[in-house]
């Protein structure tokens, strides 16, 4: 699906109009084909600004951002870039465009000029995996906050993009809904879709390939989730991050010699190991 998808930021600096400080201050980052990367950092650190560079909604003030070799400043490349990278915004109201649920989910595929039967099956699939079956004909304004967020995700999934950027796309979902959507995302990632995920809930990033921490518009750290948690609560706190409760339990058990650190921090695996 995503062979060769790659996005490269080189020395990206970005300032919003009429502001004194740069929202991104020299970011070098490569997003590789098929990986699942999480962007973490405190409020106002530049995560959404970086995400908007990935599908050319914003272009660097200095430096370059390349998506599959296309420069995001090149207006002729915009259409291609938007097809390569679909984005779910922090606030679904910024992205829901149609009056009725199924029309909204069909908006992206229709714009891409896909045949009607392909659109139909993609929309049905996307609405169903996002838990909106039965709401196809509902007016968008009658949706609850979480239902809107589900619709925003469904619209992006229906595009079947090589790269999906989720900007706090599950912040308004109930715990089961969040798990359901992340399971779908994990499945798509397993089939090659590149995932860029922004979240403040660190329990969501335990199984991703790589996390990048951004603070004050600067990339501070990159590595695996477990290496991040191993940095310890004090350093994490300086980036506004907190170790999730189950990881703390896992760390305690490893530290007390009750558990082999090779056992992954998932409740099921830890339980099996303790019962052995």
């Amino acid at each position: 699906m995503a062979e060769g998808f790659v996005s490269v930021l080189k020395g990206v600096r970005f300032s919003y109009p009429r502001t004194d400080t740069a929202a991104l201050d020299g970011v070098d980052l490569e997003i590789r084909a098929g990986e699942w990367i999480a962007l973490l950092g405190p409020n106002g650190s530049g995560k959404s600004t970086l995400a908007k560079h990935l599908n050319a909604l914003l272009a660097p003030t200095q430096g370059v951002c390349l998506v599959c070799g296309r420069d995001t400043r090149d207006e002729k490349a915009l259409e291609a870039i938007r097809r390569l990278v679909a984005m779910v915004f922090q606030n679904p109201d910024n992205q829901l465009v149609a009056a009725v649920v199924e029309e909204d989910a069909a908006f992206g595929p229709e714009n891409a000029g896909l045949p009607p039967e392909v659109i139909r099956s993609r929309v049905d699939w996307a609405l169903s995996v996002c838990g909106l079956s039965g709401k196809e004909r509902s007016p968008v304004y009658t949706l609850s906050g979480g239902q809107k967020q589900r619709l925003a995700v469904a619209g992006a999934l229906a595009m079947e993009p090589p790269c999906l950027v989720l900007d706090e796309a599950t912040a308004m979902l109930d715990p089961q809904g969040r798990t359901e959507i992340m399971d779908v995302v994990a499945d798509l990632n397993g089939r090659g879709m590149t995932i860029v995920q922004i979240t403040h809930r660190l329990e969501e990033v335990v199984s991703c390939d790589r996390v990048a921490v951004i603070d004050g518009g600067v990339l501070r750290w990159q590595g695996t989730p477990l290496d991040l948690f191993a940095l310890g609560p004090d350093l994490l706190a300086t980036w506004g991050l907190e170790t999730p409760p189950f990881i703390r339990l896992w760390q305690e058990l490893c530290g007390a010699g009750l558990l082999d650190p090779a056992v992954p921090p998932s409740p099921k695996e830890v339980l099996d190991a303790l019962c052995r």
Binding site: T142, G177, F246, A256, L258
Partner: protein, 279 residues
């Protein structure tokens, strides 16, 4: 002096094909100084409930009173109820409207008749409480990050010093420092006698901080009680959309395997009990 709901029901678009029963016979009491969490699945009626608490929506059936004032169609108390009960919406963009941070913040205090010389200090204090003291005041509220918008929406309601504070998913989009800071802030408010109703998907926070939890399912208040009581009910009967905090579910599974650990959501408590068992 309390906020009382008795058998409150509400349907959207009553009598049309779009009719949706969002609340069905919900009763609850909120006393001064109490911190109440409302949890439940997507579409369970939480935001609808929140908007009834400050009379933005009115019940089709049942009764709501705020310090004895009636929230009902035609009641002359509605304006006073809205002054006493401050509501922070689920999405900050539903609430923010002004051209600048300063305008946004000054609107409430001015609207509710705070003397002009007190508006500035009230605004400064509220912004400091949510860690936004350094925000450029001439910036548009829409030219902020998601978490900054959330903080601004909370501050603008705090600046009018309501006696009841209703927060719809206030921790969504906040970083963990902001989340902890908000919990500390609310704890301080309740000590001053302010009652707080917090809609949240974060059961862990609700269990750790709130006095009472209301679990909604399809518009009905399924459970209503202290965290300990609600935990026992949740362990007994799964609720649509909710899952137990990971550590608590793990503790339950450990007990089923014969380990003697408490039914706790605190990682250290479970780890220490386990150390005694295994070690």
């Amino acid at each position: 002096m309390s906020l009382i709901l008795r058998n409150v029901s509400h349907s959207y678009h009553k009598g049309t094909p779009l009719e949706t029963a969002a609340l069905r016979g919900v009763s609850l009491d909120v006393e001064p100084g109490q911190w109440v969490a409302v949890v439940g699945h997507t579409g369970s009626g939480k935001s609808t409930l929140a908007q009834h608490l400050n009379a933005l929506l009115l019940p089709d059936a049942g009764e709501i009173t705020v310090d004895g004032l009636k929230a009902a169609k035609g009641s002359k108390d509605l304006r006073e109820i809205r002054r006493r009960v401050g509501l922070v919406f689920q999405y900050p963009e539903q609430q923010l409207f002004a051209e600048s941070v300063d305008e946004e913040m000054a609107f409430g205090p001015r609207n509710w008749g705070l003397p002009p010389d007190q508006i500035g200090p009230a605004v400064d204090q509220a912004l400091a409480l949510v860690d936004l003291a350094d925000l450029p005041r001439d910036r548009s509220p829409f030219a902020l990050s998601g978490g900054q918008k959330r903080r601004l929406a909370i501050a603008s309601v705090l600046s009018v010093r309501p006696s009841y504070l209703v927060l719809d998913e206030p921790t969504a989009g906040l970083d963990s420092r902001g989340r902890r800071g908000l919990m500390t802030l609310i704890d301080g408010l309740r000590r001053e006698g302010i009652a707080v109703v917090q809609v949240t998907h974060d059961l862990e926070l609700a269990l750790a901080y709130c006095d009472r939890i209301c679990v909604l399912e399809r518009g009905r208040a399924l459970f209503w009680g202290t965290p300990q009581v609600v935990v026992e009910q949740l362990l007994d009967r799964p609720v649509q959309g909710l899952s137990l905090p990971e550590v608590l579910a793990f503790a339950r599974d450990l007990r089923e395997k014969g380990f003697n650990v408490p039914l706790s959501w605190d990682p250290y408590e479970v780890a220490h009990a386990l150390a005694k068992e295994v070690g």
